[in-house]
């Protein structure tokens, strides 16, 4: 891994068009500003990983398991039952 030291308000540039700036440093927390073209997704890694896992799990869904969704839609989602039609 390439390791670079940067101070507040200093940046690194990745390729021609991704700019990462150290906006603030407080204790063990660093705030980064990222400028990248809109077609390049930028995410927190733990959120990215969680969504990746969820997508892979979703791709395993058995169509036969989806039948409760009709009920969930016509009645209220889980919670106290009530009979107010939407």
């Amino acid at each position: 891994m390439l390791v670079l030291s940067r101070q507040r308000n200093e940046s690194i540039i990745i390729g021609d068009n991704i700019l990462v700036t150290v906006v603030d440093i407080r204790g063990d927390k660093v705030r980064l500003g990222i400028e990248a073209p809109s077609e390049i997704p930028v995410h927190r890694k733990e959120v990215y990983e969680a969504i990746k896992q969820e997508n892979l799990r979703a791709a395993q869904l058995d169509p036969a398991d989806t039948h409760p969704l009709t009920r969930a839609e016509t009645s209220e989602p889980p919670g106290p039952s009530n009979a107010s039609p939407s």
Binding site: I51, E54, A59, P63, T70
Partner: protein, 146 residues
């Protein structure tokens, strides 16, 4: 054109039916071309069927049917690649999954589609939206009122 899907059998489609996700979908980066199929047995569902991989399909629903106050909070830049005429023409779908005995919806990372432009993108929205919102239980609650 034909695709022999593992779940739904052979499906015929036209090139203009294809919805392209230029970045792929997280975890499924090689699946860029998809078809949106209605579920004949359950009209509240649809399936995004991968054109590239016949065994890959994602069940999707319109989130407001299940979560009436659901809102997608995004920066406008996230929508730019979709080339939408206007924001109102965006179609929002969420992916259905199963976690244990529950059917869940991924409200954190919805799919935004430009159906007329044939483009889609999975986005991650701001705020505390659950990745696994429990929409239904696989074990029926025996609580039906008359």
């Amino acid at each position: 054109m034909w695709i022999a899907t593992t779940r739904f059998g052979p499906i015929q489609f036209e090139p203009e039916d294809v919805i392209q996700f230029p970045e792929g979908i997280l975890g499924l980066p090689c699946c860029r071309d998809w078809l949106l199929l209605a579920d004949v047995r359950n009209q509240s569902l649809a399936w995004l069927q991968s054109v590239d991989r016949p065994e890959v399909a994602l069940c999707v629903v319109s989130p407001r049917r299940f979560v009436p106050n659901y809102q997608v909070r995004l920066s406008r830049r996230e929508l730019e690649p979709l080339k939408l005429q206007d924001v109102q023409s965006a179609e929002v779908l969420v992916i259905v999954s199963r976690s244990g005995g529950y059917i869940t919806l991924n409200l954190k990372a919805p799919l935004i589609l430009n159906l007329s432009g044939g483009l889609g993108r999975q986005v991650i929205c701001y705020g505390d939206q659950p990745i696994q919102y429990v929409a239904a239980s696989l074990t029926p609650a025996l609580r039906k009122s008359a």
